[in-house]
Subunit: 227 residues, 2 copies
DNA sequence: ACAGAGTTTCAAGACGCCTTCAAGAACGCG
DNA sequence: CGCGTTCTTGAAGGCGTCTTGAAACTCTGT
């Protein structure tokens, strides 16, 4: 049950997007939207969604090309892609699969059906990072329950941002992650790098010394959880 | 959850039945077959399958009527039904849902797709079934008997929505569930996210402090039962 | 020792989110 | 059909969180 997956929906028709977005959110997904290929691919690279829903006909190009771009990406090439096409698009089906789509749906799309395939594809690609609980020694950070525990005891009143930040650091440990990387993954709105510092500071203040000592700064590079 | 599910397939064309049967069996299902409505309904009543796959066009009547018969059954009315129709049956889709079908597939049916839906529908009803009684420490919420107890004592006058809400939170504990997720599971009609807040408030007011303290809010995320 | 870049701390303002209250609408029961 | 309960919606209020800015501090290389 690794929830809180992120899905990127590239679709120019807001009338199509809205119900699908609602369905995804109701199922616990986080939804990113883009109305064109340019924006879509940019979102894809920066937010690294777990799944992409791609319309074939877009204002600035075809979804097929976008799909190929995704497949050509160095590290994110195996992200599942679901293509959406207009009526009678069956002929394009072969073309869609050729471009590397994992599945093809013909409009009008039933939200439930899309959800079903999304779940199936995500299950197939494996329950990798991003969701459940991560642990590091006596520390565990559960993003689903939104609780962090140390030696089994829940840590007091961490805010959402603080917990997500801690989760991310522990998840990537012992790697050093840059402020910009953190921002792109955990922040929806754009903000200055400095906000990360403040949250790091608040975190360290709330955590027991044994844990806060492990949140380390690497000058010029970023932060890491070491331990 | 590891038990074998039984699926009843009502379909007169053996050429259609065979591959679907093979797929179901390969997936671990037990398969019953019927080539007409009369036989089908009889099998349904006696064998009580967990799922029914129903062709719309049968020698002795239409699958729509059969579906209505199933829905009219006293104890088995909530058995999931998947309808199969010939090409161009899109117009019948509405009719099919109206008859009470949970889903509609157009032939030719992809075995994998059918399997996907079967799994989904069974999971759904499985969750509802698991909705007997849940407990968390001294608290028990019985959705079947529609009563909640704390330290053995029945809690006073909880409304249906309040009890279902409490049940859901306890069921998912300690995970945080979003308002949208709650709405999609407990509400048939669409409503604003805010209704959840009101019911949460009413719930907390009626519950003893020990319990209401455990119904916690996570800003921007949703609610959880913690404890 | 000094200068500079980068980090940490502190405090205050802005914003979003949750909670509460109240009233209208829908529902079920008699 | 009418009444009471339950559900839904709206608006106001308050609290907590997030963000930002400035200043103090540390470290490093000169």
């Amino acid at each position: 049950m690794g929830e809180q997956k992120t899905v990127l929906m590239v679709e120019d028709d807001a009338g199509v997007r809205a119900p699908l977005r609602a369905a995804f959110e109701a199922a616990g997904y986080r939804v990113l939207e883009a109305d064109g290929i340019a924006v879509g691919l940019n979102e894809f690279r920066t937010k690294e969604p777990d799944l992409v829903v791609l319309d074939v006909e877009l204002p600035d190009g075809t979804g097929l090309d976008a799909c190929r771009s995704i497949r050509a990406h160095k590290t994110l090439s195996k992200t599942p892609v679901i293509m959406l096409t207009g009526r009678g698009g069956l002929e394009q089906k072969g073309e869609g699969f050729e471009a590397g789509a994992d599945h093809y749906l013909v409009k009008p799309v039933h939200p439930k059906e899309l959800l079903l395939w999304a779940g199936s594809l995500l299950r197939r690609t494996g329950e990798d990072a991003g969701a459940g609980a991560v642990t590091a020694g006596e520390l565990s950070v559960d993003r689903e329950a939104m609780v962090a525990r140390f030696k089994g005891e829940p840590l007091p009143k961490l805010t959402v941002k603080e917990l997500e930040l801690l989760h991310f650091l522990v998840l990537k440990r012992p790697a050093v992650v840059s402020r910009k990387h953190i921002l792109s993954k955990l922040w929806r709105t754009v903000a200055v790098d400095h906000v990360v510092d403040t949250h790091i500071a608040n975190l360290r203040k709330k955590l027991p010394a044994e844990v806060s000592d492990r949140i380390q700064n690497v000058p010029g590079k970023g932060f890491r959880y070491f331990g």
